[in-house]
Symmetry: D2
Subunit: 352 residues, 4 copies
């Protein structure tokens, strides 16, 4: 694993746990934790056997079968391309890359590779989301006509929140758009089985200087969109929505019914207004966990991600979301950014 901050901790938890919860076809060995200044104490705490400081050495080592990329976005492409080139399986954090060009190269590298490549849109592994997708695919809500999606956080609401790499266009690509907007774009495309075909966006950086640096990315972005299946959609991503901590909400209205999901109530799904607790043994992933009503946490999504990735590796398949899925999101991010820089001019999503 390259990287050992917030996402590194979540991924480590998943690598430690998956084989104890699920019946995996392969047994993960947590070989090496890589970071420029990572210590053995950190590695031990997170469950890794050894440490390394240079990702270029690690991705070609013979004893490494899979590279898990948990570093800022500008490093995704070089690491992933090198690892795939060395025949390693790859799991990359989201969004796939900082730019459409980088994402295209990653997808190009993944396509023909024998190795498995996956992008970490972990919310596809929320049991309620999987169940929602199944309901849409089975026609339960008919044709989807409207999608309302928002991802609202507030950690940048105050002016004194310090600058980090996530506020740098060079390192992060964009702000709320790529970091959390990418999740709701992916979910909208996944749940509907459609692609976003065009967008109109506005964005704002409310606080331009922060302790430690200049903010070069958006604080908040809002856009309308059309989906290839004919639906209208609205999206909003914000890091300044006071009082909302991690408020991902997505609603789908179809000709026959509706679905609604809110991440702060991760174990629930609203199906045409009915609150369903998605903790039954026949719900996705649930037979491996606890009896009905014993709720899962956010961290379980990463455990499910490891399960599906390892299963894909054993099968020789690329489990969704593949790098191609990640590229499909990147095309929308790119269109949104271009539209926002032209104050909402309608911008078609690139199709190749």
């Amino acid at each position: 694993m390259i990287g050992h901050a917030f996402m590194g901790a979540a991924h480590s938890h998943a690598w430690r746990t998956a084989a104890h919860v699920f019946d995996l076809p392969l047994r993960p060995v947590m070989a090496v934790l890589c970071g420029r200044s990572v210590t053995s104490a950190t590695a031990e705490r997170l469950g890794w056997k050894t440490v390394a400081s240079d990702w270029q050495d690690v991705v070609t080592r013979d004893d490494i079968d899979l590279v898990d990329i948990c570093v800022p976005g500008y490093l995704h492409e070089p690491i992933a391309v090198a690892a795939l080139g060395a025949g390693k399986h790859v799991l990359s954090e989201k969004p796939l890359a900082n730019t459409l060009a980088e994402a295209s190269r990653m997808a190009a590298a993944a396509g023909p590779a024998d190795a498995t490549a996956m992008v970490g849109f972990n919310y596809r592994r929320v049991p309620a989301i999987v169940r929602a997708r199944t309901l849409v695919a089975s026609g339960r809500i008919g044709d989807v006509r409207e999608v309302r999606a928002s991802y609202l956080q507030d950690w940048l609401a105050g002016p004194s929140a310090p600058w980090t790499w996530r506020m740098s266009a060079d390192q992060a690509g964009s702000g709320a758009l790529g970091d959390i907007g990418s999740h709701i774009i992916d979910l909208a495309q996944y749940l509907t089985g459609s692609l976003v075909s065009g967008v109109s966006a506005i964005s704002e950086t409310f606080t331009k200087e922060r302790p430690g640096g200049t903010v070069s990315v958006d604080d908040a972005v809002a856009f309308t969109a059309r989906l290839s299946g004919g639906a209208l959609a609205t999206f909003e991503a914000s890091r300044v929505a006071t009082g909302r901590k991690n408020g991902l909400s997505i609603e789908l209205y179809g000709t026959e019914g509706s679905l609604a999901f809110d991440l702060e109530r991760l174990n629930e799904l609203r199906v045409s207004g009915q609150r369903v607790l998605v903790t039954e043994p026949d719900d996705p992933y649930l037979d491996a966990w606890w009896p009905p009503g014993h709720v899962l946490g956010w961290d379980a999504t990463f455990v499910h991600q490891v399960r599906d990735l390892v299963t894909g590796i054993a099968d020789g398949t690329d489990p969704a979301p593949t790098f191609a899925d990640g590229l499909a999101v990147q095309r929308v991010l790119d269109a949104v950014a271009r539209s926002a820089s032209n104050e909402a001019v309608w911008t078609a999503t690139a199709t190749s």
Copy 2:
């Protein structure tokens, strides 16, 4: 009162009730109900003394002091201008008119008149909304940065819902946009004290032929907007949001806190996440009603509207929302329609 359908019934209820609940400076007398085919039985049921069939006769009668307009939008302007010209007070249902030109003429007629003119954006009379406005104006949530508003209904979700005048561009001006979108535009402007300065909109008519006629208005519309105070906003109005009956929701995120309101829970307000039941004696209008916790219904908003209108007449003032406020909404409706017809091209709201 001109008109005697849904809105006519709600207004009649209010005219009958207001003087029994509030201490009014003037006592309303429900003189005449006007409609092309209205019966005495209907008038008696709704509480009116007599009937008339021609609005042109009624608006100039000496025994009439106030004209309440509850007819389709295309008739608002001729009736209101005639009534104001005859020195009558006017209450017009919303939106103010079908076109910006009509609305401008109405505001022009109202401005210099001695009479009082008011437009019926009744949700300004929800106690929770008044309280929300007071909180914003007092700085409780700081500067407003994001507004999320939606008004979702589903009575046109199925293809067999019959055609009515509300689906005719000639008679209604627009569809979901003017009928219910106008409410959330007005609320956003009222609550923030800002104007919508520009919009980018998309819209759709999902069902183009209905039993009884061709649909010439939108089923659903979504748009992003900027407000003069600097906030980003998203709006969505729909008559095809399956499962939502009368779902008006508006959220404001400011630098210091947030507010959220949902019409299906008309007596509640969320203030920075706290659910407040707005039924205390010191809440707006509430001292005239019941003890705390005894909830009001949708019809109470019209009773409050009558109270404020009658008080304005006694004072010689135009209580908000005035025809100028109605015009400010109409400018946004016009910009939205133009943007939508150009697939989301950014469209500034007219400023004069």
Copy 3:
């Protein structure tokens, strides 16, 4: 109408409104408002033609057909018995009386009378409650096994709330028990179609002296019960539940499903977990009101009560809740009071 305080205002609103909303078989005339010190101004405000000061004169007047009793409980019995004796129809506020003996006399007077007698358990007229009853009666939730009911207010939470007649055992009979506990007992019996067969109760008066007098009734009461149909039940009524304004909640768990209702969300019903907005034209009473999603307030329950009472008078029937139904609640109140005075000793409800 005898009495003109809180309940008098709510009843007056209903008498004024019912004939304008519903198609009534008889037209109510609001003849006289009676109270020891009632003024003409109050009568006019509430909609009554004349005033009187002595109920004994009023209940025998030839021009009076119906007596509506909105005074403290200790006066229910003498007024109702006198009015029924004079051949008048009677509507009595709840609970039926202060004591089981008084209630028995009232029911005895009502039974053989030609007149119609009804007790004002108005929550039976909430559309969601009627719908819930219909669902239970049709077997939708199977056999009811558990009932959880509570009615929580907080207007006596602070020690400085002044003494009123509602805190006097002589005038009110009991405290939270009779005033609001009677509502949930009636609803439990109505919704299940069963009677409470026995109870075990504890109660408390947390503040024994208040500005203006000594409190001789309970602040809060809690009891378990068995219903004749085999269900277990818990009840709690309180005037000191800080933060709860008018929080009536009742849940039923049956062999096939569940129902839940909360008065603060008067237009909603939870049916086996599904939130249903009870505002459709085929919901009880709703065809006379507004389109779907336009919510009713607490005051509508009294309008419905007038409708059903007037219809009963025209039909020559006693619409439920009859005085016999009121007596069935009084038997439970009596059992609860006896159990509480013996610290929860199991107390069978009287059966005659």
Copy 4:
């Protein structure tokens, strides 16, 4: 660890995870999994090094420092007393025992022991519950006057759910009462800092024969109670509350405010009506987990339990809930059972 079913899996997850999330003073080694027919495959899956079949051998082994008891209640006392006698630390699942006599012997054995003994009321480790306790202890809601607690499940609602040891009085002691009622009794005592001083209970076994055996325990129990601090309380525990999967709810009303918690929304607390998401770094346990808004699951409570237990062992203390706390719950269970068998006769909790 003795036992390897549902609770065994949850405890194993916690033993595997705690040292990777928290900075523990001692490092747990998962030495041996004990069960009459446990396999090496199960042990490996759950993370244990070896297996054993006889608990009597295991509890005295030199290489064992701590015994974690996850077996039916009738075995708690012999295992715990033997383990404590051999100088081992003990973690026992809840309730502490099947009978008051057994629980007394366990507490007697734990008191003078050098070893640490803890009972697994894991909901004390929900961050929102810890925060609630802190708020009560600091006087935030004043004196607690009313407690409403319920724990509702529905896995026995249907008659075809098969018999298990949990339906046997011999093996489980009681039914819903001990299994889940014990949790809400413990929470009520923990949150208020009071003891239940007396109870009045009714209970029912709705389905007396099930596939595989005769049910000798309660399906549902309801009781009123008084707390030593002066509060009234109601409790209800049920396995037949159709539609409720794991619905633990507890509300406290004090002189200055209120608290409410619902286990299905484990990361939330209602503080005087305000919904608080308990996921901030200064919330209990949270600094070791994820950023705000990333919710924890039910399993995290066991991880926290291991952290506190291991810390207690290092400190030489008995972290709450101690066996004495478990005994305090058992006294209430015993009083409830006696009251229920006498149809709600008021029963004082034993005080020694």
